[in-house]
């Protein structure tokens, strides 16, 4: 940003604004990450929580 940082208020406004934008992106991103990580779970997990034995090295 071109605006010079002179006061503490300027600094806080800049850093907090960026942080808030980041946090919103992260909250949305985590939903997709969660889905990416778990959407195939049912394929290989038995009801008792044990992973099936067809997962080899």
């Amino acid at each position: 940003m071109d605006t010079p940082i002179v006061t503490l208020h300027d600094f806080m406004l800049r850093t907090e604004s960026i942080t808030y934008l980041l946090v919103v992106m992260v909250l949305v991103g985590f939903v997709f990450f969660w889905r990416f990580l778990t959407d195939r779970d049912e394929d290989s997990t038995r009801p008792d929580g044990e992973h099936s034995s067809d997962t080899h090295h």
Binding site: F11, T19, F36, L37, D39, R40, E50, H51, S53, H57
Partner: protein, 389 residues
Amino acid sequence: MPVPKFAIQKPAWTPFNVVAGIIVVVGLVVTVIRFTQGLAATTNLSDYNPWGIWIGFDLLVGVALAAGGYVTSAACYIFGLKRFHSAVRPAILTGFLGYTLVVLALHYDVGRPWRLPYPFIVQRGTTSLLFEVAACVALYLTVLFIEFSPAAMEWLGLKRARQIVVKLTLVLTIFGVVLSTLHQSSLGALFLIAPSKLHPLWYSPYLALYFFVSSIIAGLSMVIFESTMAHRYFHNKMDAEHLRQADGVALGFGKAAAWVLAGYFVIKVVGIAQADTWGYLATSYGAWFLVELLGFVLLPCYAFAISVREKNLKLIRWTAAWSVVGIVVNRFNVGLVAFNYHLPSSERYFPHWMEIAISVFVVTIGVLVYKFIVTHMPILYSHPDYDAH
């Protein structure tokens, strides 16, 4: 007590034994030099650089990589994930050995090692982070010893004593998690005292949080890594339960590691945003910082996620090893590379060969003791005379 078959069959002059023997001999010679001639004869430490690799590697990395103990026992006994039960004993053993070696390495690093108990009996300095670290490490080492002891008691046939200790499992686990939370974070907080010495990209008011969260990553990755090594070299020591649960442990811990790495990446970026240090990313230190952040945090996060999704156990195991390297890189960066970054290169620290020799010696001792214990005690299998706890 029956003598293990393969202990008799294996020849003594294996490449492993020869290399380990040479390292131990060199280590013992350097140990004598260190304790007879002092730190100046064996290290490149100075007033500018009072902490070298004996702190940056042996202590910071050692404590982080020993986190598998509290992570695994918390998953099993506190969160009730009994499908990880077979991973608890190996993780506790790794943690116990890790902390023992940390304390051993500290004896080399501190000028007057016989004063190590002073924080408890002479000057308590309760406002000092070092006091907090000392207290927690001492207490947690004791906790790990007690948590590990049932395996030794089963080996020695001490049924009554084992029965008593097993009843303490949950209390010890809770105690271990509390102590680990405290000192893993405090090790990061130690650097808060030197904001002008640590490069702004690594310095952050959140250092304590970074160290704690990354210790969870280290613990999860180390359990997968150690299990991979155990499968490779001690396969014949594992019972059916360990063999059956191994894949599930790798998948479960890999998924957890993907999550924690994602969270760690976010708090690191938030740290940059809060300190407004974006400009430093365009410098050479920034390039190295990005290697750490993208190469050792984001990349393993993605690799864990992909491998868990695809159930690719080989990739999970390679990623775990990569994450372990990442933890080493991070602790080296905070403790050595980014520390005193403003000094001219002539004043910068590079370890003396004897410092490296002692670090290798300490790790080798750990591997040898691990090998002995796993060969003789019920770590990778359940003792047939005892119920699982």
